[in-house]
Symmetry: C2
Subunit: 279 residues, 2 copies
DNA sequence: TCAAAAGTGTTTACTATACACCCATGC
DNA sequence: GCATGGGTGTATAGTAAACACTTTTGA
């Protein structure tokens, strides 16, 4: 009886009667690339970078944007993000962390479009990036974030890697608590970053820093086998401060294990390679 | 020129061409209610409770569900959640924490509907709850969550407060890591909880525990002025373990301040009332 | 007087931090 | 030899946990 009634109801129910938004995922793909090394005695420094695509369609044609795309009917939000990430990088086993929902009315001039944003830390050394259908090209940008503690202003600088013509993008944003106590970024200056992607990048950066130690994200940015110093450099680049090697070793030694393999070819004492125990 | 070209493009662009989901917010409203006190010498114990509504429309007619509703064109996702919370409780200044996106195909038999879920810890002592348009009634349910460490199974028990006929809801779920390393709940048993709301409640509970200390959520569950022991009871109920009063006091004393007012009327030494300094 | 919370003091263990020191390597 | 990272030891400071003890209240 009740089941019958329910079936009747569902048949009459037409979801088209209500206004609906388009839903997208945007992904902030992080990777760390080693600089060219001028001094053989020193370890290479790394730069935190994110993947951007240059749009070849309107709106924001020729601007740089985060990779992402529309949610399809047969997939979850995460699967959508994984699919987009895979289209862009070929990687299909990355870890994704949800950053939040971006839904401010007017954020996309094409209409009512909301975005669920994710971050994906990857080891990008061997990854070939390629643009999707609405992108002319994809490129890595070194990310530099500065924070003015007094004015609560974040400045971000992005500069392209591996391109003949260097591209530089800049933006500034003020952090505020919104009406329900969440951090929110209000962009005040923007040079070359499409949509509200500055806010998404800043949120992703904050989430990456917060989840770095508690969630083992640093290991995603390294190959499966790595030295402790490589792991330390990842932490240093993301936390943006130097760490003491002796203390760092003791702190993380319990969550990694020796591979037995010893690194060769460096102009200093060779190090053991470790792997993540996976908590 | 370029601006003109962009305008032309946007005019031709028809967002209706693409398939779109309906988007809702669901809110897990937490509150702690003191039990009746049989012993005047003891402080009342509290029970963690959540707010559910009984659906009076299909699907899941007569089942209990989380309050929530459809996203409107002129609001953000958070504003949608605030609006729904206000409709249900009259509160318009609660803190909301985003739990995540629930988007599994088929999660709602009415069609393609995805949900962004939030949690809202509130001080509910004086709040009158009422159902919205698709709800026959709203009621508080005491929430009890148990975890089997070996089998990775969560059991949740909900039992109604302040109702003539006691309602009991139950469910079990297995925790797994999904393909991108996030925790996911797979419901194995369910008695009376609508949609995938068991998963949402479990995610909310985990988020509440995780953010309790780092984010000052405990203060949302108390009136503006409170004793340290009241604050400790909130922590104890949520973390589900006893704490030592002497240590707890020292741990949180730096984030609260004295009001100067001293509690009266208890059958034991009166306590200072404090307020949250707000980090 | 008594039970229970309010509040202080103290001991012990653990963790974070800083730094001194030796080792191993390629140039 | 020497600069640099690899790795160990150790002293100090701060925090967390456990517990003993005194104070204050209403019944």
């Amino acid at each position: 009886m009740a089941a019958n009634e329910e079936m009747n109801y569902l048949e009459k129910y037409n979801i088209e009667d209500y206004d609906r938004p388009s839903v997208t995922s945007d992904i902030v793909v992080f990777s760390i690339f080693e600089d060219e090394n001028e001094n053989r005695r020193k370890m290479a420094e790394g730069k935190l970078s994110i993947l951007l695509i240059r749009r070849n369609v309107h709106p924001y044609k020729d601007s740089w944007a985060l990779p992402g795309g529309f949610l399809r009917k047969d997939e979850t939000m995460e699967q959508c993000a994984i699919r987009e990430l895979c289209e862009e990088t070929g990687l299909d086993n990355a870890r994704l962390i949800q950053i939040g929902t971006f839904s401010k009315p007017g954020r996309d001039m094409r209409g009512w479009i909301i975005s669920n944003a994710y971050l994906a830390p990857i080891y990008g050394e061997n990854v070939k990036v390629r643009g999707g259908d609405d992108a002319a090209e994809a490129a890595w940008f070194e990310l530099q974030v500065e924070y003015d503690d007094n004015k609560h202003i974040y400045s971000i600088n992005l500069s392209s890697r591996d391109r003949d013509d260097e591209v530089r993008l800049k933006a500034k944003a003020i952090v505020k608590k919104n009406s329900c106590g969440m951090d929110e970024y209000e962009v005040t200056d923007n040079d070359g970053i499409a949509f509200d992607h500055t806010e998404i990048i800043l949120s992703a950066y904050a989430t990456l820093r917060n989840h770095l130690e508690s969630d083992g994200l640093a290991y995603e940015l390294l190959p499966e086998q790595f030295t402790i110093m490589q792991l330390q450099k990842v932490h240093e680049v993301i936390l943006d401060r130097p760490l003491l090697a002796a203390n760092f070793r003791r702190k993380i030694i319990s969550e990694i294990e020796e591979t037995g393999i010893i690194e060769e070819g460096k102009a200093f004492r060779p190090a053991m390679l470790y792997r993540y125990k996976g908590l």
